[in-house]
Symmetry: C2
Subunit: 390 residues, 2 copies
């Protein structure tokens, strides 16, 4: 397994740099989100990706020392050519099925890297706020790393997420509020007892882990990126990560300067980033009383809002909302027509694709990649004949 070409950490807001040898979370100058920067000239001569399976094939471009590379099988998920685009008359569609990750969601990628980095740099305990899947992913990698973890989740999160996180021996604290409130509790705990805070954009590892989704799409499509990528967005790490992935691949000479247009999807009842995008704002105001059946999109405020909005605009992208009813309807269509069992966030991407194809923003020959970010098994309460309320 190769060394990492990590060179420094750089603030996404003020540009200040920080050393990679110390376990820090946010920018020491302004408190902004730190991004990992690599010696890409050096990396260019190396074999990236390495042969084999999963996310650590890209270890040269991840900020994790070898001793932090815990292996639960994250990454290497399938990119499924789907006949559903044809069936709906909306053009060639691929689905990146992130349910094949450990803990059955895309959150495993970010947590593998964040926790691996934290452990290798000396963390002794961890804390994370979560709307659902992130808690499970963090708990699994905490168990693999041997570090104790506390997660703060909204008290009405479906039971599946709580039971799974507890199975990995995480301490689960239920909070009267949404993930922003959980974030405050996590931050307070980190300040109080020194636990390393894994919250989105509060440390540089999670963006890096999610970046591997972009690496894999490029490789799986023969280094010819699709015209459009549609991504369900809570905090927005994935949007920033995909954009960063493509820049790094270009620097390595693996792709050219072409980029997909990125589409961000939020629930119409909790859409702070979409509202800010539409209004031309550089930052997003918190969304009041957000609620949606898609727990991963119940995020009223993103700490990385500026980075997310910037990446979306650079890509000539779009920001759209879909209703809960649409998510449920398109989840049923995806399951019955394609054999996938998508979470509502994944179904939201298909609903958005239909919307953008109908208005002509996506052309009929354009190649579209959707993300199914996790399994419906944690959302059984949304399906017909389920007697359990969730």
């Amino acid at each position: 397994m190769s060394d990492s070409f990590l060179k420094q950490l750089e603030c996404g807001h003020c540009g200040a740099t920080a050393s990679i040898d110390r376990l820090i979370g946010t920018c020491p100058e302004c408190g902004g989100p730190l991004l990992a920067r690599y010696d890409l000239d050096q990396a260019r001569g190396d074999r990236i990706p390495e042969p084999g399976r999963g996310l650590w094939r890209w270890a040269g471009l991840l900020p994790v020392l070898p001793e932090g590379r815990f292996e639960l099988g994250a990454g290497g998920t399938p990119l499924l050519p789907s006949s559903i685009g044809e069936w709906l008359g909306i053009g060639p569609t691929w689905i990146k099925d992130e349910a094949a990750n450990p803990t059955a969601s895309f959150k495993a990628r970010g947590m593998a890297v964040a926790i691996g980095r934290a452990k290798a740099l000396g963390a002794t305990s961890l804390v994370a706020p979560s709307a659902g899947n992130a808690a499970c992913a963090a708990a699994a990698y905490a168990a693999a790393s041997g570090l104790p973890l506390t997660v703060f989740m909204p008290k009405d999160v479906p039971e599946s997420f709580q039971v799974e996180a507890r199975a990995y021996a995480a301490r689960v604290e239920l909070v009267d509020g949404l993930i922003d409130e959980c974030g405050k509790r996590a931050q307070a705990m980190a300040e109080r007892d020194g636990s390393f805070n894994l919250a989105t954009f509060r440390e540089p590892g999670r963006v890096e882990g999610k970046k591997t989704m972009g690496f894999e799409i490029a490789e799986q499509m023969g280094w010819r990126l699709p015209e459009v990528i549609i991504y369900p967005t809570g905090g927005g790490t994935g949007i920033v990560a995909l954009w960063k992935a493509f820049d790094e691949l270009e620097a390595l000479g693996l792709i050219g300067s072409e980029r997909p247009r990125l589409v961000m999807v939020q629930a119409e009842t909790c859409a702070p980033l979409v509202r800010a995008f539409e209004a031309g704002e550089a930052k997003a105001e918190p969304w009041q009383d957000g609620s949606t059946v898609a727990d991963g999109m119940r995020v009223p405020k993103s700490f990385g809002d500026r980075l997310v909005l910037d990446a979306l605009r650079k890509s000539q992208g779009r920001a759209v909302t879909v209703s809960d009813a649409q998510m449920i309807e398109y989840a049923r269509i995806m399951a019955a027509r394609s054999g996938l069992f998508p979470c509502p966030e994944g179904a939201a991407c298909l609903a958005a694709q239909v919307q953008l194809a109908e208005e002509g923003w996506i052309g009929s020959g354009e190649r579209v990649v959707l993300f199914n970010t996790g399994t419906a098994l944690k959302y059984l309460h949304l399906w017909p004949n389920a007697t359990h309320p969730g």
Copy 2:
């Protein structure tokens, strides 16, 4: 994608052969289970496995025409080196995590091949009996193939399996009895309306699909097989399939004549094959009133019993039982110590490993591969703090 080197079908009981061009299930001479035979000399000159991802890399050794190779991402699951063997003091342990498959279980492999074969050879509807996961896997591939499917499941199967199978638009029939009773209903339906019966060993595809687990282990261990493989056993397809996989790899020149000892694990409250193995029988009598929390092992009778017992004996293997309480205990240990969320069948393998290590049958330096055949997300009712009865 390469052609298949399939040459003929051969009865595992009487040795009669049958043509590959027609969609048949069991031996036309004696009604026994048919096994796929390949032109391995020819295959030896070909590139097997092909590069890429998943089970269709092995298409040369699978009985499926190209038009039947539906892609939901089956196969290519991780083989995880686990510190749990060290922690328990029982030696080097790897876990083949089959939860990374579509429908989050190993059943996807067999159904991908069985349904792909059936569709390519002209089937117009499908039927399957199932104790749980097979129904979901069959339903997903039926949806992908566009074929209608009816599944018969025991009426007390956990709700998760029913909801998932119905999501893929399968018709789910609940039966007052275990899978043997479901099997009778499936067989009757097949005879009545011509639906192709996907029951274990009643058609040759499922063994072939599961064979890819053996191929992958060999490849992932650098073509040096482990000393012991522990496998949870309901019908026993996997045992037959692993053994067949290794014979074919040897014929291709990819491995030598060394073989792992195979260990079959059943629930102590439903252990027909273990009983027959211990008694030195060639066949297994049906188990009366079998019951266990591990739905995949609630199989009172295997149609492939002779093949399973034969493979186990040839491997110098063992057959052991574990209790439901042990499965629950070891599932908790695996989750909390390793970050996996195993089904009870997967936990049963760890319990069996501990048992065999303690009695010295597994030596301290021997490399052991366990199978986690599926996700605990379909068994949440077995975990602490779950309020839903399953």
